[in-house]
């Protein structure tokens, strides 16, 4: 049980089930605890139950999109420390510009990966984020 507690908990949010399965398959090679959500609303519900050590987040999603999730995460003191990796088909400049236009603030995320993610690269980035923030 004590062993279980030490494993990093990663929440992956994407509306595309194939992307979720691919990412989960890659991350399963490491001793992480993984959970998935298909939209921003579900993501926020799951975060109220357990705060993840890392959030991997798509931007274009139904119900609540990724920008909305980032906004909520960064305005709620309990969640501001959670590192966010954006994983999306939207290009980085356009993503950041849209967030700035909507909120008037810079998008506070810790990593940005454009889909499709290279598996080895993804594992490295995840490990780095967990090391810094946990």
């Amino acid at each position: 049980m004590a062993e279980m507690e030490k494993r990093s908990y990663i929440l992956i949010v994407d509306d595309d089930p194939d992307i979720l399965e691919g990412i989960v398959t890659i991350l399963e090679s490491q001793p992480y605890r993984l959970a998935t959500a298909r939209d921003g609303k579900k993501c926020m519900e799951m975060i109220t139950q357990e705060i993840p050590d890392l959030l991997i987040l798509d931007l274009l999603m139904p119900r609540m999109d990724g920008w909305g999730v980032i906004r909520e995460m960064r305005s709620e003191p309990r969640y501001t420390h959670v590192p966010i990796m954006v994983l999306t088909t939207v290009i980085e400049d356009a993503s950041r510009r849209r967030y700035e236009l909507e909120t008037g603030m810079a998008m506070d995320i810790q990593d940005f990966v454009q889909k499709p993610a290279n598996p080895a690269d993804l594992l490295q980035r995840v490990e780095k984020l967990l090391k810094i923030h946990v």
């Binding site: 595309d16 992307i19 274009l60 290009i91 980085e92 889909k115 598996p119």
Partner: protein
């Protein structure tokens, strides 16, 4: 006899009045124009006018509906397709090229249903408008509005269409590529050598497709001010490394050695990082694509007084002399590359990106030089570019200087 003719003239004039283009003309003008008009009917599917043909007649739709079509051909050898760019309904006109240079139809018009039109003789109409300047001005004013409207509409439709298509295609492609990469990485179990090779090939094909889609979308967005808005401090060494990373798999596939010759030290420059990476990835991928197996591709960089210079050189067949002036044009593909895939957009996009940096991109055919073959692309990026923030500060500084002065 005269009675009938006069009455039919009045009927035609009345119909002309209901058309957009002649709506502001007086009875006298309308009756004069009616003299060189005739009514015509067309079947469904029949062409009323054909793109590129001499524009001798203008058509006013009375009943029915026309589709305006434009021939679209991507690359030299693909089948041309017709894209519908608009519709012409009763009261509207088709073939207004009749009134403007270069007097040839800019689109085709095909009947979507049985259609009745008034065909106006172009030469006679022009002569009439020239001798009746007041009427001419009214018609030309409406014409300018119509042309402007159609142009705006076409650009909007195109941009909208491209952005939708890009998003719709990127999602599924990313999912496929992600699965393939996951399998290739061994995360879903061991692969035998044949499976591994097939997956590698699939990834290359998907990447080609993704690049192609990206190129078509980029072309619509590639305006200098958009590129300049992304200017930031960046390290050309890192950009080069990323580009090499993008091209590594394609090189390995053909057994091509990438030989990298960097300067002793990289100094940062101002530029659009992601766009520059796109330029060098494209040049490297081109070099690899057109090189024979087991040859070498060189990627060099050095600094000059005013520019950082990056160069990609291959040992391929070179570009035919007659093609050299055209290689930076949209959709151009050289005449000796029929067997190789691509839309012919990579270099025209690279050119637009480098021009937005006030830089230069030069191409040189090495074939024929002292037993050599190949092509060399040399890119110069100025070292004195400004980020948007620097430009803002500079502007404020000159403003306050002027105030003080």
């Amino acid at each position: 006899m005269f009675e009938v003719s006069a009455r039919s003239l009045t009927v035609t004039a009345e119909r002309l009045r209901r058309s957009e283009i002649f709506s502001e003309l007086c009875d006298e003008d309308l009756i004069a124009i009616a003299e060189f008009c005739r009514e015509q009917t067309f079947h469904e599917g029949e062409f009323v006018l054909v793109e590129g043909a001499p524009a001798e007649t203008m058509f006013i739709v009375e009943r029915g509906k026309l589709a305006l079509e434009k021939k679209i051909q991507i690359g030299r050898h693909s089948t041309p397709r017709n894209a519908t760019i608009g519709y012409v309904e009763p009261g509207k006109i088709a073939g207004f090229s009749t009134l403007t240079m270069p007097d040839e139809y800019s689109t085709s018009a095909v009947c979507l249903e049985p259609t009745r039109v008034i065909a106006v003789d172009g030469k006679a109409l022009r002569a009439f408008l020239e001798t009746h300047p007041a009427a001419g001005l009214k018609v030309m004013r409406i014409l300018a509005m119509l042309v402007g409207g159609r142009y705006r509409n076409a650009t909007n439709t195109l941009t909208y269409f491209l952005s939708i298509v890009s998003h719709e295609l990127r999602g599924p492609l990313a999912a496929i590529e992600n699965y393939l990469q996951t399998m290739l990485g061994g995360f879903a179990g061991e692969l035998n050598p044949k499976q591994k090779r097939m997956i590698e090939r699939s990834i290359l094909r998907v990447v080609d497709l993704r690049t192609l889609i990206g190129d078509v979308v980029d072309l619509a967005r590639m305006r200098p001010e958009q590129i300049q808005a992304d200017f930031e401090w960046c390290n050309p060494g890192e950009i080069g490394t990323e580009s090499v990373e993008d091209a590594r798999l394609a090189a390995a596939e053909k057994g091509i050695r990438l030989i990298i010759e960097p300067p002793p030290k990289f100094e940062p420059i101002v530029g659009a990082r992601r766009r520059l990476r796109q330029v060098f990835t494209n040049l490297l991928n081109n070099a690899i694509k057109f090189s024979p197996p087991d040859s070498r591709v060189f990627f060099r960089a050095w600094y000059e007084q005013e520019a950082v210079v990056l160069e990609v050189e291959d040992e391929g067949p070179g570009i035919p002399e007659e093609d050299l002036p055209h290689i930076f044009k949209d959709f151009f593909r050289a005449s000796n590359v029929e067997q190789t895939q691509g839309a012919g957009l990579g270099l025209s996009i690279a050119m637009k990106i480098i021009e937005a940096h006030n830089g230069r991109i030069l191409v040189r055919n090495l074939t024929g030089e002292a037993g050599k073959t190949g092509t060399r692309f040399t890119v110069y990026i100025p070292r004195d570019l400004l980020t948007p923030e620097m430009r803002r500060r500079e502007w404020i500084a000159t403003e306050s200087d002027q105030l003080k002065g």
